[in-house]
Amino acid sequence: MVAGIGLKEMTPAMAGEATRIDGEAAAREFAGIVEAHRPQIFRFLLASTRDVDLAETLTQECFLKAHRNWDNFRGESSAMTWLMRIAINLEKDYWRNRRLQFWRHTRTNSVDLDEASEWLPSGERSVEHHLIAKEKVAQVWRVVASLSGRQRTIFLLRYVEELELADIARSTGLSEGTVKAHLSRAVNKVRAEVKGKSR
C-alpha cells in the first residue's frame, strides 16, 4: 500500500531519475561482470581457436552481445555460464561462416601446436622433466586440434576452465549424458596419444 502511494506520487522527473539510477546500476553491474569474466572467456576462445586476434575479436563480440541482451538475462544460470554459451555460439557461427566464405580467408593466424605448448611454466621441474612435460602438452594440443568442434569445446571447458559437467551442459545446451560421452571420447583420444607416444 505504501509502495502504491509512493508510485502514485512519483512525478515524471522522479521516474526519469529512478530510471537513470537503475541504468547506472545496471551498467556498473555489467562492468563488474566484464571485469570478472573477460579473461576466462578470452582464455577459452584462445585455447579453442589458437588465434590471438580471433580470440580478441570474438571476446569483444561476446561482451557486446551480452551487453545488448543484459536486460534479458534472468539469472537462471550463472553469468559465466551465460557468457560461455554466447562465446560458444559465436565461435560456432564464425566457423560456419568461414566454411561458407572459404574464398575470403585463405590463411589462418592460428599459433603452431608446438608453439602453444611452449607456455608451460617450468615450476620446480628439472630441465629434462620440463622438456618431457612440454612434449606431452604438445601431444594434447595436437589431439585437441583433431577433435570435433563439440568434443573440443567440452574438453576445454572441463580441463582448462574446470567447469562442472552440469555447467558444461548448460553452456553447450546439451544433456549431461551427452557431455559425459563426448568428454570420455576426447579423454580416450588424449590417453591413446599420450600412451602411444610415451611407449
Binding site: 586476434d53 580478441e56 569483444q60 607456455w119 602438452v137 599420450v194
Partner: protein, 134 residues
C-alpha cells in the same frame, strides 16, 4: 598377475594423464595471461563490403573474359579451318586443270613429233629386211 600389472599400469597411466592434463591447463592459462596482459592491439578489421563487391566484380569479369576468350578462339579456329579447306580445294582444282592442260600438251607434242619425224628404228628395220632377202 598380468591383470594386476595391467591395473597397476592403468593407474600409473591415469596419474600420468592427469599430470599431463594439469600441465595442459597450466600452458593454456600461462599463454592466455601473457596475451591478455599485453597492450591491446587494434582488433583486426574485417574487409568492408565494397571490397567484397569489388572482388566479386573482378572475379566475374575474369570469368566472363575467360569464357569470351574461349568462344572467340573456337570461332577463330573454325574460320581458319574453313579458309584452309577452301584454299586446299582451290589448289586441288588448279592442279587438276593444270594436269589436264599438260596431258593435252604432251599428247599434241607426241602427235606432232610422230608425224614430222620417221621412226628412228625404220632404217634399221629396212636393213634387216635386205639381209634376209640376200
Amino acid at each position: 598377475m598380468t591383470l594386476h600389472r595391467d591395473s597397476e599400469d592403468m593407474s600409473q597411466m591415469d596419474e600420468a594423464l592427469e599430470q599431463t592434463l594439469r600441465d595442459f591447463r597450466s600452458s593454456a592459462h600461462a599463454w592466455s595471461e601473457s596475451e591478455y596482459s599485453r597492450p591491446h592491439r587494434p582488433v583486426r578489421v574485417h574487409r568492408t563490403s565494397w571490397r567484397v563487391a569489388a572482388s566479386w566484380a573482378l572475379g566475374c569479369a575474369l570469368a566472363l573474359g575467360s569464357v569470351a576468350g574461349g568462344v572467340y578462339e573456337r570461332h577463330h579456329v573454325k574460320e581458319q579451318a574453313k579458309i584452309a579447306a577452301a584454299a586446299t580445294a582451290r589448289q586441288h582444282k588448279l592442279d587438276a586443270e593444270r594436269r589436264i592442260e599438260n596431258e593435252d600438251l604432251f599428247a599434241k607434242v607426241d602427235r606432232d613429233v610422230s608425224r614430222e619425224v620417221p621412226s628412228a628404228m625404220e632404217p634399221l628395220a629396212q636393213l634387216m629386211g635386205d639381209d634376209s632377202t640376200e
